[in-house]
């Protein structure tokens, strides 16, 4: 059923090495082989490095079906500071917590000693070094490439004019009409919590005449059955192309959702998104 190219590809893929990573528990040694419980089963696996502690968690990798014990899953620090000495054990504080461990028989531990620890199948404190070299400096964090500034152009998904009803798709600002563009929820979904630096609208006009259109913000994501709500009214003279509006209007849309409209003024007519997909597109610069 597959075409020959896909079959050839599948063949190639089948030849690629397959690695599956699991976490298991080291069980012990049987017949000279390390046994591990992983993925719900118990099986022998090749061991890399020294023997882990029995019942400790280990990384188990299957490489082409062959299991390998790659080492312990927990961080095992090899240096620490002695905090408590009690008989034949010491409590050592390390970068990942405290451990209570035995020590080499010839070593006389003191509280405050910086000691070397050996792990594996017999964890033990080895003793103190003759002297301490200066601490190496950790590499600094790589620079972040995220820029805070965004410029987004949101195109409208619906447009119309309301005069008793939504009677046509063009956006009219006239004595009897409220025009509005709708954007879904994408503006607030994308920019919520950001501050608007610049707010522009793309004007694609059929007619610019008389008073400047009264731009408003509304709160509808989609065309409602009745008229849209009206807030943040600003009369701004327009020409074709990008026109800058007060950024408080953009902030209102970013914070509360909704979109841009025109409430009277004019007689100005703007294209529907059917005629020009850019009509009433919003370009919002935020940080």
């Amino acid at each position: 059923m597959d075409n020959p190219q896909i079959l050839a590809l599948k063949k190639k893929l089948a030849q690629a090495s397959k690695v599956t990573t699991l976490v298991g528990q080291f069980v012990g040694v049987e017949n000279g082989e390390a046994l591990v419980d992983a993925g719900g089963g118990r099986f022998p696996a090749a061991l890399l490095g020294q023997l882990p502690e029995v019942a400790s968690d280990v990384h188990v990798w299957f490489v082409n079906g062959q299991p390998f014990i790659m080492g312990p899953t927990k961080l095992l620090p090899t240096t620490g500071t002695v905090t408590v000495v009690s008989g034949l054990t010491v409590t050592v504080s390390t970068v990942v917590g405290t451990f209570t461990l035995p020590f080499l028989s010839w070593y006389g531990p003191q509280v405050g000693d910086v000691v070397k620890i050996a792990w594996g199948d017999m964890p033990i404190v080895l003793g103190v070094p003759s002297t301490k070299l200066p601490d190496p400096v950790a590499p600094s964090a790589p620079p972040s490439s995220d820029s805070m500034r965004r410029v987004d152009t949101f195109t409208a998904i619906d447009s119309g004019s309301y005069n008793q009803r939504w009677w046509q798709d063009e956006i009219w600002a006239s004595d009897n009409n409220t025009g509005a563009a709708f954007y879904g929820t994408k503006i607030t979904d994308t920019l919520k919590g950001r501050t608007v630096d610049k707010f522009e609208v793309y004007i694609s006009a059929i007619q610019i005449f008389g008073s400047a259109p009264n731009f408003i913000t509304h709160t509808s994501a989609r065309k409602p059955s009745g008229n849209v709500s009206v807030a943040n009214t600003n009369a701004v003279p327009v020409s074709n192309g990008w026109v800058t509006l007060p950024k408080s209007m953009g902030q209102a849309i970013v914070d509360n959702g909704g979109g841009l409209g025109v409430n009277h003024g004019g007689y100005n007519k703007f294209r529907s998104i059917n005629e020009d997909r850019q009509s009433f597109a919003l370009r919002i610069t935020t940080h």
């Binding site: 976490v23 790589p142 949101f154 879904g184 929820t185 979904d189 994308t190 997909r277």
Partner: protein, 372 residues
């Protein structure tokens, strides 16, 4: 199902000969608008990481006799940053016409382009250019933009915020947000990271027709439309096919906790013909088919068990029965829609898995059968 109005739904209840046009965008600005296109083929397929791909042919007659064949990087139809906003025009004669957006697609490839020339007063002028364009959806750009350095989420508070940071796309939130469960290292494949993050919310990432990123829940919702047969219906043909490939009756999960101890969880079908074993413990007729899941976002065995229990019905039932169905062209259906299909003896409920749109009035789809 995509947004529309009552008028469009009325028009689409009848037969349409599909017409398409496109706006050509560069840097989110319209470069050419209302460009007529032919030879349209747009395929949506939920099984791919990039779900939509397709091709169109532009026959361009330039007002000034210039060629539109792309020759240099930066030419209008060159596959470097130019995007196509493709529309299906739904209309009735001249009385009603509306552009239903199908999506915004970056040009991927220009497989063929040629100029037709003519002699005009002794000069050779380009009478027209024929340019074939193939395109994919905007996830192409996400996929190309591989991580140059390994990284981790900037914050674990919000899946949406992290998705936006990774893709740079605008967002339409379709389902409630949630926190990211663990700092998982992104290695190289950015689109895979996007899919993994969306899985935290039990969803698949996809794109809306206006090019914003959104999430489609993995569980099926309620039916969005009923397709009927007969004179007033839109169903042309319903097939039937079955495969056992990709059908599992046991799901096993392997992962690790924050303490780096192993998590193992499994879930299996215990009754019905897909049961893994009979009541007396012997092997069932179908036997056991196990699929393995793993996710770095699962951090304890309770989450792991919930994960396998959730996935089991999907892998054991979905895909088991697939129905190819031919319907009348409809630009509103999208992947993941649940549809009811009226049959002569019963009603099938299915989820759209693939859609193939072309200039033909017939639109083949594949549905995963949920019931019936």
């Amino acid at each position: 199902m995509r947004d529309s109005s009552a008028e469009i739904l009325t028009v689409l209840s009848g037969s349409q000969t599909p017409h398409f046009e496109m706006d050509v965008l560069y840097d989110n600005e319209v470069v050419l608008s209302h460009v007529p296109i032919t030879g349209v083929q747009i395929n949506d397929d939920a099984s791919g990481a990039i779900e939509t791909s397709g091709s169109v042919t532009v026959v361009w007659q330039d007002d000034y006799g210039q060629s539109m064949t792309p020759r240099e990087i930066g030419d209008v139809f060159s596959p470097f940053g130019t995007e196509l906003a493709i529309y299906s025009i739904v209309g009735v004669g001249s009385s009603f016409s509306y552009r239903v957006p199908l999506g915004i697609f970056p040009i991927f490839d220009v497989p063929s382009a040629r100029d037709e020339t003519a002699l005009f007063r002794g000069y050779e002028v380009v009478a027209g250019s024929v340019v074939e364009l193939s395109f994919k959806d905007r996830f192409l750009l996400v996929q190309r933009n591989r991580f140059d350095v390994p990284g981790v989420p900037a914050s674990l508070d919000s899946v949406y915020a992290e998705l936006m940071r990774l893709t740079g796309l605008q967002m339409t939130q379709s389902i409630p947000d949630g926190p990211i469960t663990r700092k998982v290292v992104y290695e190289e494949d950015r689109l895979q990271a996007v899919y993994d993050l969306a899985a935290v919310l039990d969803a698949t990432p996809c794109l809306t027709p206006d090019g914003t990123l959104t999430l489609r829940p993995k569980s099926a919702g309620g039916p969005v439309a009923t397709l009927v047969r007969g004179e007033d219906g839109t169903i042309l043909n319903v097939g039937q096919s079955m495969t056992s490939e990709g059908v599992y009756n046991r799901v096993a999960f392997r992962g690790k906790t924050d303490d780096k101890t192993a998590i193992f969880a499994a879930s299996e079908v215990t009754s019905g013909p897909l049961r893994t074993r009979n009541d007396d413990g012997t092997l069932s007729p179908y036997g056991t088919a196990t699929t393995f899941l793993t996710s770095d976002y699962v951090t304890n065995s309770i989450q792991a068990q919930a994960y396998v229990d959730r996935e089991l019905p999907r892998v054991s039932r979905l895909g088991a029965r697939e129905v190819p169905v031919d319907v009348l062209f409809n630009p509103l259906f999208e992947l993941g829609d649940v549809l009811e299909l009226e049959r002569y003896d019963r009603t099938i409920t299915g989820r759209v898995k693939s859609i193939s749109r072309s200039s033909s009035g017939r639109m083949p789809m594949k549905l995963e059968v949920l019931g019936g």
